[in-house]
């Protein structure tokens, strides 16, 4: 029975990280109407920023995480201002190319400064909790709790505040938002900033149990793409549910069937869900 609960913990950990990254991706989709390929690079920069603040400047883990979130938020806003905003009237393919350009650029910059070495980010939470054989490292618990707290905070922000409502309005209908006088520039910048914060926090939470290196974003972003397709492009509950579905599929499929097949299980689920609901689990309609 312990092994079963162990997999629940594993699924929750993975699902939390995937969900956070997918959330940022899905929010930006509401603005750009294309998946932001550079999101994985923002995630990677987030991990490197936390690493830099902790190792080189000696900051505490939480402060480093906050600093990293701020830096990546600014970086995401810069991407919007300097790259995506000037392209707003171009065909969508230009946005896609630009996003891939940003991805390659950020990776090259990080590799130039830090090299391609694998680095470890050490968090203060290195203990291991053992509940009668059920093993939960503290950092993993922190990931789960942190992700849930962040998702609830984001929900409150979007549902209960006027600024949050403008983001949702913009995602639902661009023209409608303009008609009621919403400042599109402000909303776009804010959305990018939030996506940057989510990516940086996810990376800083996850990095202590993993490695920090320039190509670390590829893996997570690939899963995040699957998740937002699964959950419905642009849907916030979809990103969270999709993240959990993929996380649990990997944990349980990997344990009870074989880790060699866990991707098949995850992608099999994707095919199954899309054949029943082609627009994804939570999408309200095609864009």
């Amino acid at each position: 029975m312990n092994l079963f609960f162990q997999q629940i913990i594993n699924g929750l950990t993975l699902g939390s990280i995937y969900g956070l990254v997918a959330l940022g991706l899905t929010l930006v989709y509401g603005i750009l109407h294309i998946p932001n390929f550079a999101h994985g690079a923002l995630y990677m920069v987030g991990a490197f920023m936390s690493y830099f603040f902790m190792t080189d400047l000696g900051m505490h883990y939480w402060i480093a995480m906050a600093g990293s979130a701020a830096v990546v938020a600014v970086l995401a806003i810069l991407c919007e201002r300097l790259v995506f905003h000037p392209l707003r009237n171009s065909p969508p393919i230009h946005d896609k190319i630009a996003a891939i350009g940003i991805l390659l650029f950020l990776e090259a910059v990080v590799q130039m400064f830090w090299g391609s070495d694998f680095r470890r980010l050490s968090s203060p939470f290195t203990g291991i909790m053992n509940f009668d054989g059920l093993i939960i490292p503290e950092q993993r618990l922190l990931i789960i709790v942190g992700a849930f707290a962040l998702v609830i905070a984001l929900q409150l922000f979007l549902r209960k505040t006027m600024t949050g409502a403008t983001i949702i309005a913009m995602a639902q209908s661009r023209e409608g938002a303009f008609l009621v006088g919403i400042d599109a520039n402000r909303v776009a910048m804010m959305t990018f900033a939030i996506s940057g914060v989510l990516a940086a926090v996810a990376a800083s939470l996850y990095a202590p149990i993993n490695l920090v290196y320039p190509a670390m974003g590829h893996l997570v972003i690939m899963k995040a793409f699957v998740i937002i397709i699964l959950g419905g492009m642009g849907s916030i509950p979809g990103a969270i549910a999709g993240g959990m579905i993929i996380g649990f599929a990997e944990a349980f499929g990997g344990f009870y069937i074989s880790t060699a097949y866990k991707d098949i299980i995850a992608f099999g689920l994707l095919v199954l869900i899309l054949s029943v609901r082609p627009q994804g689990l939570f999408a309200k309609g095609a864009h």
């Binding site: 092994l3 993975l14 995937y18 130039m112 590829h218 893996l219 060699a260």
Partner: protein, 382 residues
């Protein structure tokens, strides 16, 4: 300050790269390299290249070598193949056509096999940094295999583990081609000598974000020994997670991973207690190895791994062979490199390679390392 220096190095590297494409000038021999310089395996590629760079700079700092009465320097032309055999083949074509290189260094078996399809025809030496035995057994006349083959390790590690650690094995290797060959060989060796394999669950280092699930699957079968391997750093994560889940036994570490680097990621030497693997260069007590480590640390500020040391000595050997034969013809160099290595100064030869077999394998004494009481100890292989 460190960042500024790194920036400077990057600019220097970029300008160097520009001059490289200009082709060989008089009194200069181009030597090719294709390996992963970006992506997940970039560190490995760069470490390999660092050994080659160091050798080239030493040769050039001494004014080059004597080629038929003319002082000749070495120009290293490095191309990125992102670990892809297809890209490695394209790079090799480019290197031979644009830079007319007599030899290409390449640190991955897939790429080596790709190059062996046309290297005899296009007339260049494949300097293979891979321990897959078939690389040289295929009988390619212009291939040199730099490190020892791993079949010797498979036997030695199995014998030692069965004798000292236990008879049940949990397989937690990796899913890349090299790891698969290793795993199947060790599985065969293990069962033929009376051990049992209780779990088999290789980790996919390219597709898995987390190894907890895979590791818990193996731990659930209670093995006494775990087979792990892949690049050192992810292997370190696997080891750490196995210990976190209460695994008490020893590890057989595939030769791609280095025990000292694994320990660093896993959180200290006590995490890898009872591990068997190849001897990290840092444990070598010989003069030749120590002198190399010292110079490397001065230059790059970190501990060299075997990929740096082996490629360093291989480039030195290659140049000695050109010097001795007054030729850059790959066939001539291939014939002379055995003697050249044996005659080379020991400071250029950290692993003290003494000969090259008929099929092109460098001959070194193979030893194994075990972790006892928190220390890496070198043991002879019978």
């Amino acid at each position: 300050m460190k960042k500024v220096k790194a920036l400077g190095q990057a600019v220097a590297a970029a300008t160097l790269g520009m001059t490289m494409t200009a082709g060989a000038m008089a009194g200069e021999v181009n030597i090719g390299f294709t390996g992963p310089l970006s992506g997940g395996a970039a560190l490995y590629g760069e470490n390999t290249l660092s050994g080659l760079r160091m050798a080239a700079e030493e040769i050039n700092a001494a004014g080059g070598f004597d080629l038929d009465g003319e002082k000749t320097t070495i120009n290293l032309v490095a191309l990125d193949d992102r670990y892809s055999p297809a890209q490695a083949a394209t790079n090799a074509k480019r290197l031979t056509q644009e830079s007319n290189v007599p030899a290409i260094f390449i640190p991955h078996s897939g790429g080596v096999f790709a190059l062996q399809d046309f290297n005899e025809e296009d007339n260049f030496l494949v300097m293979a940094y891979t321990s897959v035995p078939t690389v040289t057994e295929k009988g390619n006349s212009l291939t040199l295999r730099i490190p020892p083959t791993f079949d010797g390790y498979v036997r030695a590690f199995t014998d030692y583990a069965l004798e000292n650690l236990g008879t049940t094995l949990g397989m937690a290797g990796a899913t890349h081609e090299y790891a698969k060959i290793w795993a199947s060989m060790i599985e065969k060796e293990w069962t033929s000598k009376g051990g049992t394999v209780v779990a088999n669950n290789p980790m996919d280092y390219n597709k898995s974000a987390d190894f907890f699930t895979g590791v818990s699957r193996i731990i659930a079968e209670n093995p006494e020994v775990m087979f792990v391997g892949g690049a050192s750093e992810p292997t370190g994560l696997v080891v750490q997670q196995a210990r976190q889940m209460g695994f008490q036994g020893g590890f057989i570490v595939m030769d791609q991973a280095k025990i000292d680097e694994v320990a660093e990621v896993a959180g200290g030497m006590e995490m890898v207690e009872g591990a068997i693997g190849v001897v990290p260069l840092s444990v070598y007590e010989t003069e030749a190895a120590k002198s190399f480590i010292e110079r490397y640390q001065d230059k790059y500020g970190k501990m060299p791994g075997s990929e740096a040391a082996y490629n360093y000595l291989a480039l030195h050997g290659l140049v000695e062979a050109m010097d001795a034969t007054e030729s850059t013809d790959p066939k001539v160099i291939r014939g002379a490199i055995g003697n050249a290595l044996a005659d080379m100064e020991t400071s250029k030869n950290p692993y003290e390679v003494t000969d090259v077999t008929d099929k092109g394998g460098f001959v070194t004494e193979t030893t194994l390392a075990v972790v006892k009481d928190g220390k890496i100890v070198r043991e002879a292989i019978e």
